[in-house]
């Protein structure tokens, strides 16, 4: 058995050792009274008693703002206005103690950035390939959690390299992939005892049972697409929504982006930024025409994309049930209610 025990007192030493191996470590940290997933420098210690981080770890592979190219606008230079690729240092990123739902979300982002398009996205691929995911299972899931509806669970191992289980004094580290096994082998930690494994199994089973009966969203597929799109339900459903974009910002699978150029002095940068289907500018044509002119169309797009278009394309909805959008929506819109409605 390759499982090991990480005493809580040794977490910073463990992370220090990984840092020494060249990993850039991201994890949940306390920021202004909330928990966000961020890079952990040597001084910040990760929080491991939390429901889930407010900001998802998607920025590890898809930063909120990212440089794509640089260029000069100095006309006297022979290379003026010619874009050059940004040299990125090759850093292996390690996610420490993120939640299993967020680990699954990377699998969905892979579909968008590596499978769906006519091309693979090189910026995403570079960060993703070298990434290691250590997920901390959820001993006590939150009321807004519904990972089990989406094919996950509080101890789902999908997208996880090393599964962590909180056993009180320390964490049980169970390798899930070869990548995880190799990483653990190279680190001096005590092996897990049979009683550790048994205790973890009990916690995992209890948490899974606590989630209750799942509802299978794939039934959404049974209704004809155009009927669902034209449903008068959208007229009512969008009314409370203020189109603030909080849901798309916090969502671990929302991945729409905009590309913008910025120039300061002679130096220019072309970069990309997170975008949101909640804003009218996202689809506004230069002519003034907007194919999604009102809140109704924008609200419908978010849910039809996640719950129908993506399901038709990939057999899974574009949602991992993390519950962030439910928890932080200022007007209490609950995606679970929309799933129920769309199932008919």
């Amino acid at each position: 058995m390759d499982a090991k025990m990480l005493p809580k007192a040794d977490v910073s030493g463990f992370l220090g050792e990984l840092r020494g191996k060249g990993y850039e470590i991201w994890g949940p940290v306390e920021v202004d009274g909330a928990v966000d997933t961020m890079p952990l420098d040597g001084t910040a210690s990760p929080v491991t008693e939390y429901w889930n981080s407010r900001v998802s770890p998607k920025a590890m592979v898809f930063p909120q703002s990212e440089r794509m190219f640089v260029f000069s606008v100095d006309r006297s230079r022979p290379d003026a206005f010619i874009l050059k690729e940004v040299e990125e240092p090759c850093i292996g990123r390690l996610a420490f103690a993120i939640r299993p739902c967020d680990a699954r979300a990377f699998g969905i982002l892979d579909k968008v950035f590596l499978v769906q398009g006519a091309w693979q996205d090189p910026y995403y691929a570079r960060k993703r390939e070298s990434m290691v995911v250590m997920a901390l299972g959820c001993n006590s899931p939150c009321t807004t959690c519904f990972c089990h509806w989406t094919g996950g669970g509080p101890f789902s191992r999908e997208g996880v390299d090393i599964m962590m289980t909180d056993l009180g004094e320390g964490f049980l580290l169970e390798p899930v992939t070869d990548k995880g096994r190799e990483l653990l082998q190279g680190i001096d930690l005590p092996g897990a005892s049979p009683s550790n494994l048994e205790e973890a199994k009990g916690l995992q089973d209890a948490a899974t049972a606590a989630m209750g009966e799942p509802l299978d969203p794939s039934h959404i597929r049974k209704r004809p697409l155009l009927e669902m799109f034209g449903d008068s339900y959208w007229e009512r459903a969008h009314e409370a929504c203020i189109k603030c974009g909080t849901c798309t910002y916090l969502c671990p699978t929302c991945s729409c982006f905009d590309i913008q150029d910025e120039v300061r002095g002679p130096c220019g940068v072309r970069g990309r930024n997170w975008d949101t289907c909640m804003f009218p500018l996202t689809t506004l044509h230069a002519s003034g025409h907007n194919p999604r002119p009102t809140g109704k169309e924008r609200f419908r797009q978010r849910f039809m994309h996640k719950l129908r278009y993506f399901l038709d394309d990939f057999g899974t909805i574009m949602c991992v049930g993390c519950g962030r959008c439910v928890q932080f929506c200022p007007v209490n819109i609950d995606i679970r209610e929309i799933i129920r409605e769309l199932r008919g």
């Binding site: 206005f81 010619i82 091309w119 729409c256």
Partner: protein
């Protein structure tokens, strides 16, 4: 832009434009709102790599301003350059209109799926265009008229209209087509004026008069929404089925390769699944374009 296999990814960045020089600028319309830009690749290998078919588009890239998706107006048979006709509408197009011959910009592509030329083989093709939505139609017609290609296609009929004679694009090329006997042309304007010898009338009405046969035929319809709206019933009356009617969509776009999530209309991405769709395909999906 042709997707590459695994392993090659390291070396190819689909967001990186090819540098090109503006070789020639032509003011197309008398209101100066449309200009054609003839672009020449700075590197010979880039020109070789840019293999396109009529109906595809590219992102024109102005460093410091951004990118815009524009249909390719030249035909692959017209070697040595690319042609793009651009309406002055937003930030990037306005900046492009202010540029001069000799300036360097970027081209990223070719992107999307072009017109189904293989299906057109042995068939009659009716082109119905209005206003400045005639760019990729020009590309397709030029391609089909090329001596190497002409024999593969049946009759070619072109119905093209604009509000005024001064707003018709590619006047020299239109004249060349009129002088040929292997293409039937019907150029029309909404309102005639002195010196205009062509037709007067809206595109749907002219289509009804020309009455192209739907037998063994495809109709390609590109124009403003109002023209499309009134042309469709005419085509239906002539017997064209939704499978025989082909259109090209536009939406706000960024990546152009199906990733950024901006241009979808229902489950389809205009950039990678289109921009060319049959009416039958469009009837199956939400109309968010």
């Amino acid at each position: 832009m042709n997707p590459v296999g695994e392993g090659e990814m390291e070396r190819k960045n689909p967001y990186l434009p090819y540098p090109v020089r503006i070789d020639k600028i032509t003011v197309e319309t008398d209101d100066r709102s449309l200009k054609s830009f003839r672009l020449v690749f700075l590197k010979e290998e880039d020109e070789k790599a840019f293999r396109y078919t009529p109906g595809q588009f590219a992102e024109l890239s102005l460093a410091g301003k951004g990118e815009i998706p524009i249909g390719i107006a030249s035909s692959p048979t017209e070697k040595g350059h690319l042609l793009f006709t651009v309406n002055k509408a937003g930030v990037v197009t306005t900046a492009l209109h202010e540029m001069s011959e000799g300036d360097v910009i970027g081209v990223r592509g070719p992107l999307g799926k072009g017109f189904p030329l293989d299906k057109f083989e042995g068939k009659n093709v009716v082109f119905i265009g209005g206003g400045f939505a005639f760019t990729t139609l020009r590309s397709t017609i030029q391609y089909m008229l090329h001596p190497e290609n002409r024999a593969r296609f049946g009759q070619i009929t072109v119905i093209y209209g604009a509000r005024r004679p001064g707003l018709l694009l590619y006047k020299e090329t239109l004249k060349e087509w009129q002088e040929r006997d292997d293409i039937s042309t019907h150029f029309t304007v909404d309102a005639g004026e002195e010196g205009w010898t062509g037709l007067v009338g809206f595109v749907p009405a002219v289509t009804e008069q020309v009455a192209p046969s739907s037998k063994d035929a495809y109709a390609i319809v590109c124009g403003p929404p109002i023209m499309i709206k009134f042309t469709m019933p005419v085509l239906t009356k002539l017997g064209f089925t939704p499978e025989q009617i082909i259109m090209s969509l536009e939406n706000r776009m960024k990546c152009g390769i199906g990733i950024c999530g901006k241009c979808n209309t229902g489950p389809k991405y205009v950039c990678k699944d289109g921009p060319v769709f049959t009416l039958a395909e469009l009837n199956q999906i939400p109309a968010e374009y």
